[in-house]
Amino acid sequence: MMRRLQLWWGALVRPDRGGALVLDGQPGLELFLLALVALLYGVYGAAMGLFRCGWDEGWLMAWLPTAISALKLPFLYLFSLAVCFYPLYVLNLMFGPRLRPAQCLRLLLLAISANAAAIASYAPFSAFFALTTSRQGYSFLVLMHVAVLGLAALASLVVIGLIFRATGEAAGRRARPSFMVVWALLYAFVGTQMSWVLRPWIGSWTGPYAMLRPRGGSFIEAVWHLLGRVF
């Protein structure tokens, strides 16, 4: 276990190692990465849901929002990956380094684990603010989560880019930057819609707690209408 963790961390901080790991693989690596990603996102999801928890609403509400958010955040990232996997694999055959499906899966899991690690590193920070912000401070908390997720995404994108390039080099084929951009765009397109479906993430104190809201619209329409209302 420790050895796998070391191997994983080494692959992230030394992308050429990461490229070799993606190509050659290790027995049981995929499952390990899957569990690790779920755990790391779960930690941050728990910090997200902490805001809506309240002892005064009964024992259930003391832990349920945190538990639900801790389940939803890994689901968001892993389900988006599942939806995108086959299109991404075909894109990789068309534009990219032409990895085999197993290699492609390892590359995606490694990339997403970099993002998960970056996000999970902010979990204590977010938990601290979730616990110390008053119940009227919902909009502050939303902005803070957006800022944290953006910062973590920026930090991880650099590493992910390096891993992509190292994988292409290790395979002896050039991975074009545009290839990674297209991958990221498709993943983000599906991911935003998924996050829209899985709302609420933080939960405001203005109404009763809801695990999920009714389906309808799409992320893009919502943003468009929001912009229309602002301007």
């Binding site: 070391q6 080494g10 190509l23 084929r173 819609q193």
Partner: protein, 353 residues
């Protein structure tokens, strides 16, 4: 290349006979060794490419993974071995994707040899478009090839069509349930019809104008060319089925779903036309200049125009939520107008914003 069995550091270190600090992490040191080994082999390969005098027919295994794949293992690692030899690095940057994928290179490629089994054939098509182009050029075994490609086209587009038709099940429309279920089947048949009919319509103009311009392609070549285009398009289309289904599942907006499907079809079509361009360039013995090049552009426009018009004639594919079940709609409007309307409805509020 100049690589003997002596410089294989990875297995030795794994044995642990060196007093190195990395010995407590044998896997990582093996990875490092793999990195170093690949770098060396790349430098050697590049050096070999600089000298055009000796085009070294390197065994594919060595190119791929020298220390982890001994020669005996070669057939077990098809993922990198044939590909590394397939993509000669002689071509400079800036080519289209399929040129980069290794088609019109200095050394001619082997004609395609499709494996048995449907999924293996799809994988082969996506991995070796250059070799499919090579067999198009060589005009060998094209009837068999056309059969394989036709099957791929039909199966993949039926799969996507079924998903597309199923969107209506999830849209919350007023159509009765039987209509929605029938629509799944109807759309599953309409998408392959779209591919095959548009290829059929452009077949004769391409064949005749090509012959007049001096490129004497046989009817088999043109047939296999068009079918390989549709097969690649349909496979790319089917690869997006999961995305289309996910959005149908989570969105209730008909215009959004429609525009998404148009975008997915456009993506699939562009990839297919890229292949068509690459193949035609390879099949032509002379460089494409002047009128021939214009002709090629004309073809592509013709193909796109026929495809969109046919899609318009065959509609509905998804089925508007406000309409009854129809096999076909009446002839009215056109494709481009409808796409613009949908975009307008989606992005402009009900109150006309």
């Amino acid at each position: 290349m100049g690589k003997s069995k002596d410089d294989k550091p990875a297995p030795r270190r794994r044995g642990g006979n060196g007093p190195k600090a990395e010995d407590d992490l044998p896997v990582e040191s093996a990875l490092d060794a793999a990195v170093a080994e690949r770098r060396i082999s790349r430098v050697i390969r590049r050096a070999a490419e600089v000298e055009p005098a000796e085009p070294e027919p390197a065994p594919a295994c060595e190119l791929a993974e020298p220390e982890l794949a001994p020669v005996a293992d070669c057939p077990n690692r098809p993922e990198s071995a044939p590909l590394a030899s397939l993509a000669p690095q002689t071509r400079s940057d800036g080519g289209t994707i399929f040129e980069q994928m290794g088609a019109p290179a200095a050394e001619p490629l082997e004609p395609a040899s499709f494996p048995r089994g449907f999924w293996g054939q799809i994988d082969y098509l996506l991995n070796n478009p250059g070799r499919v182009m090579a067999s198009l050029r060589a005009d060998e075994g094209l009837v068999e090839l056309a059969r394989v490609l036709g099957l791929i086209t039909v199966v993949m587009s039926v799969a996507y069509g079924a998903v597309m038709g199923a969107s209506n099940l999830l849209l919350g429309s007023t159509m009765p349930l039987w209509g929605k279920l029938v629509l799944v089947f109807v759309t599953a048949l309409k998408v392959p019809a779209l591919f095959l009919l548009s290829a059929g319509i452009v077949y004769s103009p391409i064949y005749v104008s090509n012959a007049f311009m001096g490129a004497r392609h046989s009817w088999r070549q043109v047939l296999a060319l068009l079918l390989s285009t549709t097969a690649i398009s349909a496979t790319v289309l089917a690869s997006m089925a999961s995305v289309a289904f996910f959005f149908a599942l989570t969105s209730t907006n008909y215009d959004f779903i429609k525009l998404l499907n148009v975008a997915i079809f456009a993506y699939a079509g562009i990839i297919g036309l890229q292949f068509l361009l690459g193949a035609v360039r390879l099949m032509d013995p002379t460089p494409m200049v002047g009128r021939r090049r214009n002709l090629l552009v004309l073809w592509l426009l013709l193909y796109i125009f026929v495809g969109t018009q046919l899609a318009w004639v065959l509609r509905p594919f998804i089925g508007s939520p406000n309409e009854e079940f129809q096999l076909f709609r009446e002839r009215r409007g056109n494709f481009y107008e409808s796409v613009l309307h949908s975009a307008g409805r989606m992005f402009v509020d009900e109150d006309g914003r």
